[in-house]
Symmetry: C2
Subunit: 551 residues, 2 copies
């Protein structure tokens, strides 16, 4: 299909050609590749957050449900992709895109990812991956070592053993969390006299065998939504994911956790997993993992730490103390595609005890035969790519000290931004950064004063209008595409747990400068001034409150 | 870290540099990329199946559990990757690698995959993907259209609707199958008077509410192992995945299926899903989907078709009739990384009814807000890559007619190979190809004659030795790395359901020639001759049997 003539034609010969390595260095495909690289470089250098094309406009370009009958030239289709896909994508790598955990990539990953795509290994089985299997096992060993720091002998005997697994590489934190809770569930409802285990017999028979009234997973109310998904998928039910209240720092309240466990046990409900959050998605805070480990140990509950985002901070000896206790977790989720800076699709769950995954072991005749070292016998996914290779390369090329610098600069930057926000008269910091994530909102000075004087009804009105204003600003800013912050809804203690819309930023991109942060605030302010509903209403209400004589 | 000096040093400045697009076209990274491309091209042109390095040797290169403290130069690490990873990988794209469903990739995907990696979009949410969201929705629409062929109006109203989902893109067939059965389970145990549904309340309470004794998923005994995994994860239990016997063509026995359903119902067990297999992993056969659809419809059971491998054949109007009835399935699994020739990590589940996925809908405040078009609210996975883009490109560049040619040539080649095997005096075809997959074994003529004359005990002995010989040949051949076929264990009717080791080939690679197929057979024969245990024992036993006077 790579031809100079204008009509592509599907013949077996031309189809065989597309599977053949182009011989000439100046082949058509070579120049297409160069065009893509140049276009991508321009895109990646363009430090905006997104273009302002609307979603419904873009949908027009992707509206035909028919697979084209005839082939298209690679060059023609590449043009389409550059025009309609690349140009209309989000600049997740832009230093002005500070709204989500998807950040910039080190540029060396572009050439290296060629190896992954080109080799197209399938890590489910050694027969389709070979070197990628020991490589992935080493990466899991490195992460295990980072978390648990076991002895050299331990890794020597477990890392490449057919009977052990230090963890599972997977597409992301959601699958990692599901895998961890699957292991926890199957271990809690394991085979015992007259019962073959929940994996064989299912939950209904397991419950009858063990005589429990119900099961429960415990996590703070800031737990990631994937845990609810896990509770649903695993047949536990979302209601059995028990949300424990958090303190003013968004950390689980230990006394309420213990009370809940006591209450569940009194009602014959089995809490089989306790999840500590190391970096909540919305506020970036870390649970008191050490104290949670004590409780889990005492109660005999599987202790899982969801460090999908915060786990990367273990790379920094300066940040590591914040996660103290993680080394006592039975399992830990870490996403390498967050602050370990590798492309999307690199999640991991690490198990302290390398025999724990036997609870979810699977075999089949044509694949994953017993005693084999095939990675697929311990993973939720089946066929998988060699993504571990990109993490392997990043760990080697950046090194632990390099990661330490990257992590530390992100935390420093968040601290700087928090101070910058507090120095403004018309902004309010909502949550302090513990790592590099913080939340805040825009509150005009007049409104701040009015809030102090308002009665409860007025306070509610102002609060609701501020929520509207925050949402208005975030949407407009996203659409304008100059900078991007995300938003979420929190229920802060200081606002009597009222639902509060806030801006949320994650400052992982090493190229985000202090000037850009100032610009982000300026843009919030400028957009607020364009609000024709929320802001005038806020001002009018504030005026009324402030002009009313003291009650 | 890309420097000419010999010592890499981690400083914030040098770290910022790795996130910066290299300006000069002849940058260090540029020449590294060129070196990788050249090396990869050499590797991909090298038409062997694998090198002969042993796994334990390779493990030595991946044995250190410590993350290196210091950074490494990209160039140095690239050298390591080319030496130790690329050179020791499996040539899944080699025309001589005909053992698994992982096959060659069209070469145009190498440059195009740069777009996916470089943009690093996260399709969980529009805010981190923009054009990739409508693109993925269109791809799902195209596949839906391929299977179900609904009206233009249908696609116009559903494809980009926030309240509908035509399917879910995921990492692979396993996640696709789990997703389909998750939807089926939640639909069967949905909310009803006094019960909030299994998603909220879990299986134990669901069973008590509905008063069932147990649940069941029905599939032929040739169903993929991921279905067992699904039954475990979903809390149904592996025992409740009921394997229905197959006929001599490895297709589900309809009468036995109906008997089992009647039996389950009589015992108050709820069969909530029936799975048809469109391309069994071991023998490549297709269940009688039309008749299964009748049964599922009559019984009110969710009908899922696992067409992870065979689904690609819908592209060919010549093969499509073999899958008749698939258009009546409630859900269908298709892996694009199998015979749609895109890189690993491109699974899909397609739902006939675009409201069905509401059974697994999830929302969260900071992401996937209600009414949004975010793809993440209907997927098992959370953060995901823009892999759909590579399928989109392949569908456009190859076109339906191009795929038809690719699929048809693979089926023709399998038919040719089957005839070639049957023309040999010392080979035995075990399963005929229905698509491009077949199984066979090596049986010396002498042994064939002895088998005809053997008493039952002798037959057992010969059969066991033939199994040993098959395993010996396959392992040796894999290690030698010149060609590669896989092996599995079947229980063919014609051998009174004795466990039978067989060679298994998948002829999807368009570059596999008739000569290569002849070579594969020749190599089997050569390796067999080297057997110092199984072959001499077989010959001795055959001699004894044949020299014994007729009993």
């Amino acid at each position: 299909m790579v031809k100079d003539t204008k009509k592509a034609e599907a013949s077996l010969e031309s189809l065989q050609r597309i599977f053949t390595v182009p011989e000439a260095p100046n082949s058509t495909l070579g120049s297409i590749e160069q065009a893509i690289s140049q276009n991508l470089n321009r895109f990646l250098q363009d430090h905006i957050a997104a273009t302002d094309s609307s979603l419904s406009d873009i949908e027009q370009d992707f509206s035909d449900p028919c697979i084209p009958e005839q082939p298209t030239f690679v060059s023609d289709h590449t043009e389409f992709l550059l025009d309609k896909v690349v140009a209309q994508s989000v600049h997740t790598s832009s230093p002005r895109f500070i709204g989500h955990m998807t950040s910039a990539l080190p540029y060396f990953l572009m050439p290296l990812s060629k190896i992954m795509i080109g080799l197209n290994q399938n890590t489910v089985k050694i027969e389709t991956s070979k070197a990628f299997t020991p490589l992935e096992r080493q990466v899991l060993g490195m992460l295990h070592n980072l978390i648990y720091g076991c002895s050299k002998d331990f890794y020597q005997s477990c890392m490449h053993s057919a009977h052990h697994s230090l963890g599972a590489f997977c597409s992301g934190g959601t699958i990692a969390n599901i895998t961890a809770l699957w292991v926890a569930r199957n271990s809690a409802l394991k085979a015992s006299h007259g019962f073959k285990g929940v994996a064989e017999e299912g939950i209904f028979r397991a419950m009858k065998h063990y005589g429990y009234e119900d099961l429960a997973i415990l996590v703070s109310e800031r737990g990631h939504y994937s845990l609810k998904k896990a509770a649903d998928v695993l047949g536990i039910g979302r209601e059995s994911l028990i949300a424990i209240p958090t303190d003013e720092h968004n950390r689980i309240c230990l006394d309420k956790l213990q009370d809940k466990i006591d209450d569940l046990k009194a009602r014959n409900i089995k809490p089989f997993a306790l999840v500590g959050v190391a970096g909540t998605t919305e506020t970036g805070n870390i649970d008191p993992l050490e104290a949670m480990a004590d409780i889990a140990e005492h109660e005999g509950i599987h202790f899982h730490v969801d460090a999908a985002w915060g786990g990367a901070s273990l790379m920094s000896s300066n940040q590591r103390p914040k996660l103290r206790g993680i080394e006592r977790a039975d399992s830990v989720t870490i996403d390498a595609h967050k602050q370990l800076y590798v492309p999307m699709g690199a999640g991991m769950v690490i198990f302290k005890d390398p025999t724990l995954v036997s609870a979810i072991e699977h075999h089949a005749d044509y694949i994953l035969r017993k005693g084999s070292k095939d990675l697929g016998s311990h993973t939720l996914e089946g066929s998988r790519s060699g993504m571990a290779m990109l993490l392997f390369a990043s760990l080697n090329i950046i090194g632990r000290q390099g990661y330490e610098l990257l992590i530390d600069q992100s935390v420093d930057k968040a601290r700087y931004f928090a101070e910058l926000i507090q120095a403004q008269s018309d902004f309010e910091l909502i949550t302090e950064p513990e790592l590099c994530l913080l939340t805040y909102r825009f509150v005009p000075e007049l409104v701040q004063n009015a809030l102090k004087k308002a009665n409860q009804e007025e306070f509610e009105q102002l609060h609701a209008l501020l929520n509207d204003l925050t949402i208005f600003i975030q949407k407009r800013q996203r659409e304008a595409g100059n900078t991007f912050v995300s938003r979420t809804t929190l229920k802060p203690e200081k606002f009597a747990r009222r639902a509060t819309s806030v801006f949320r930023v994650v400052l992982a991109n090493p190229l985000t400068t202090h000037d850009i942060l100032q610009e982000v605030l300026d843009e919030h302010r400028d957009i607020a001034a364009q609000s024709t509903i929320a802001l005038p209403q806020l001002n009018a209400l504030a005026d009324r409150i402030l002009s009313t004589p003291k009650r």
